[in-house]
Amino acid sequence: MHEMSLVQGLLSQLHELAREHNKTKVITVCMDIGPLSGVVIDSFQFGFDILSAEDPLTRSASLVIESTPATYLCCGCGKRIEEELKPEACPACSETLLSPEGGDDIILRQVQME
């Protein structure tokens, strides 16, 4: 459950942003959590629900999570393949060894506060 410690980090970052911008209430938090980040999105959401409810700053905040897919580099022909799910083989040369790139981000994109 490292999702909990990531949510704690997120909440302290939200406090910093609130102080910096003189705001007292978080309305929405937008995150980008890639499919190869090792983060279980449901666990992250669960952790956020629990921890944000205990905190006046985030009590009524909603969390929006998007997931930018990885790209795959074909080890045969060097083609870059962009698909939601990892393809079985390269559409150009049928090579099955495909090296993932990106998709491992855990990014705080945008916060709406008042």
Partner: protein
């Protein structure tokens, strides 16, 4: 009380909502600390590896045998990570190399801040400040440690024969982020259904750049490839 939102602040505060673009990784602080650790480790003269596996895959045993085989050729130091106890550090200390134990007190992974602390502690141990190889044994867990860069140069993931060959498919992150995949406890192959070549091929599907090896710390089979690998990375 303020009329427009029911809050307890003075009425003159702003209700303008503001959208702030942040675009920062939640791991940014960890990654920055990991970079510092890498520089620190290089100043100690060392190359660092981070060993990741489920509990009991044989990390400490592999390390004990590695120290026995390499102690005269390489200056090895160890940082042990566990949730509780200093038993693994005691096992390594018995082999006569500098070691410190980090206990996470419940956390399922080591992070770069703990390693930062660990490096300073290790430097106070006799011989701990001048090393060729620093081994970090992570908390036994195949999932969470994979997310946290500690400042290592190479990441080694282990799966032991009794765990079964489906681990790369089920826990991909550790395999995608590692440089080496070790199938351990191969002396047990006669008693378990573990098709080694299939497991290797499946891991390579996830990460074609993995160096895959299979070995047994008890029987010593397959050890040359591992020792050769360590020798190579320590020559830099």
């Amino acid at each position: 009380m303020c009329d427009s939102c029911g809050c307890d602040l003075t009425p003159d505060h702003s209700h303008d909502s503001k959208v702030i673009d942040v675009h920062q990784s939640l791991l940014a602080a960890n990654t920055a600390m990991a970079e510092k650790n890498r520089v620190h480790i290089e100043k100690m003269g060392a190359v660092a590896i981070n060993m990741i596996s489920s509990p009991g895959s044989g990390k400490t045993t592999l390390l004990e045998k590695t120290i026995e085989a390499m102690k005269d050729r390489l200056r090895i130091g160890v940082i042990e990570g566990d949730i509780e106890t200093d038993r693994d550090a005691a096992r390594i200390r018995a082999k006569g190399v500098p070691v410190i134990q980090l206990t996470t007190g419940g956390a399922c992974h080591l992070d770069a801040a703990q390693i930062h602390k660990g490096l300073h502690l290790l430097e106070k141990e006799p011989g701990g400040d001048q090393l060729d190889l620093l081994v970090i044994e992570n908390v036994g867990n195949l999932v969470c440690p994979a997310t946290f860069d500690l400042g290592e140069h190479h990441r080694v993931v282990l799966v032991s024969v009794p765990e079964g060959p489906d681990k790369p498919a089920k826990y991909p992150k550790a395999f995608i982020s590692s440089q080496v995949f070790i199938i351990s406890k191969t002396d047990l192959l006669p008693y378990f259904d573990f098709p080694v070549e299939e497991a290797k091929a499946e891991a390579l599907q996830l990460n074609p750049n993995l160096l895959v090896m299979d070995l047994s710390a008890t029987s010593g089979e397959g050890f040359e490839q591992w020792l050769h690998y360590l020798t190579t990375i320590c020559q830099k």
